[in-house]
Subunit: 209 residues, 4 copies
């Protein structure tokens, strides 16, 4: 993938995710691997809901800036690099949503089973159970990146950071987007199931009654 293609793909991802409200308040970071030792990533502090010049920069896999742009790398760049170092990902998407902030609040991981959407995460087995790692939101980003590196599960294309957001990835931008969509669907569904579980239901109950 050329740098020009990467800019185009990142702009398209911004448009899709921004329209859903997943990139509010300058939150989120999007990156693409564009070579053996190069990653194109959105710049720190920019509004990812918009496409503007200088809002993307290049880093190597150690996180060093390798272009001449004035953009600053985000403090969260290390989490993207942890994914690229541990997996074959071609794209990493990080977004904050109310639903990805509303699950996994007590556990070290969020177990999900018996749902069709797990197929979109690559799990086709009928009794598949996916365990999404939930990291504590360490203020020390180096520690957070290290923990991400240690806990990434090659069979699960994402992890949660508590009271912060989700990281999702895939072989390319499309795969990363589909994994992110499947995870967000499941997070929202889990939240809604937890709410509904407060309701006592009797067998034979007519919901519309």
């Amino acid at each position: 993938m050329s740098y020009e293609e990467a800019l185009h793909t990142l702009a398209s991802l911004k448009e899709v995710l921004g329209a859903r409200g997943w990139l509010r308040a300058t939150s989120g970071n999007l990156s693409l691997r564009i070579g053996p030792d190069a990653v194109a990533i959105t710049a720190s502090g920019t509004d990812k809901q918009r496409v503007r010049p200088h809002d993307v920069l290049l880093v190597d896999l150690a996180g060093r800036k390798i272009d001449e742009s004035p953009a600053r790398p985000s403090a969260e760049t290390g989490l993207h690099l942890a994914v690229y170092q541990r997996t074959d990902a071609g794209a990493v998407l990080h977004v904050h949503t109310v639903f990805n902030n509303s699950v996994g609040h007590h556990e070290d991981s969020l177990a999900i089973r018996d749902h069709e959407m797990l197929k979109a995460l690559g799990h086709w087995n009928e009794d598949a159970e996916v365990s999404v790692p939930v990291l504590r939101n360490w203020a020390d980003l180096q520690r957070l990146s290290q923990e991400a590196y240690d806990r990434i599960d090659p069979a699960v294309p994402g992890f949660l950071v508590r009271r912060h957001g989700v990281y999702a990835w895939g072989a390319d931008a499309d795969a990363a987007l589909h994994h992110l969509e499947a995870l967000e669907f499941l997070f929202e569904w889990i939240y809604y199931q937890e709410l509904r579980s407060t309701v006592a239901r009797e067998p034979g109950h007519v919901p519309g009654a």
Copy 2:
């Protein structure tokens, strides 16, 4: 309906349903009957939120591919065919939403009565009760298709698959869309009623107080 018209109609349905977030993570399948023994259906694994060449294919009512396209039929094609075999449907829409995944979790069917939206499903009687079949999400798609075939109720243009999604149909694409919209409205309303039923309410209570 010609194949060209079918492509145009499917593209339009993708746009409408995609904008609502009902086709996330490559989920969903849309089909149109275009002759006595031919169905145009979206291809397996494609992102139905987008319109791209080769994302539609033709099958006969037995599920055999009858065009030269490189597209693969979805494993869920059998459920669409079950509808075409059992009813006069001209269009079948299958979507995953959080709300259609949040109702019918305990029952074999979801009974709905005393709601204006039932008219949009063809039930104009004041004390109409519609019973939407709820199928278990069998991993064996042949078994699931057979169960769909067996349980389809000609008076109800849809069924649920638990922890998976909904199928809705109609005489043409517009009718199928309107049935789907009515069902989704009712599912969301039922979920919200179930949540609210946890709240003790006294007569004369002023909600805004």
Copy 3:
């Protein structure tokens, strides 16, 4: 207002309300008064999310069709006419939403007080209380229209029909839209307050803790 202007205004209202999902499954009806004894109203059975020829017709205040179009008047036309007969409304909007179906379920009226949005309904007094009539959804539309006529409160530009939807009106299309928006905001807020009222809260509680 000329008939051409009415068509243009109805098309614009369809676009605005349709984009919000308030006109799903052919539900809803929109009308404008265009003379002493003429009302332009959306036709029965049409999808009000779309603008198409022949989807509007003219009736007089007694509900008689007074144009040559092939369109059929909706069975709900009588409710629009009840509003025009009882008030100075220039526009009446009827929509189904999950939230307007989720309030007023036990009462004959929905009392709302102590909220800024009441100003948008014309109530500027600090201790204003608005009582929105809630009608039973009689299958007999003539009975429903009569009850609407009897219960319309000139000080409140709307009423609810239980398990059906809301009617809102104003001096012109803009005023009707603003009243509808204020009512929907309040319905959604009331529903959310009812849900939250299940939660025991202690003074000094830190919500984000």
Copy 4:
């Protein structure tokens, strides 16, 4: 900032906020400081979801109209001026949402801690706690403006008015928008946490089970 630039920026803010449903029923007010003693502010009673001539006017910091336009200043202008008098704000945004009406209902302030979005409000410390002032919605706007002036915390770029809405500000329109987005995210998240806290959860519980 010239008056022309202010008109352009206000139009852009209207478009962004209107599309999210944050400016319903003529609610909300948006303003920009365009000089030492001049503020451009949206006019009273207008629909801020639309851009139209004469829907913006100029006032000085004492609230006196200083242009020749026919537009009337909103009664809430005093709250905008309280912010400009107490802070270095270049832009103030006031919106009504169901979520900003659903938090802070019992307290004088809404305490928020331990959440990544606090960084977007300027709080980078790991144990940061932000206390958003919650004002009573006094009918006397002068009293409300005075209370806003008295309770504005320079470290927190916003305050709530109970059963009314939020005010948020920043050095320029972008900063104000990002602060508003962060606050709305947090309000929605807090509301959802409060709802979910009704659910008893056991350690080791599998949410998707």
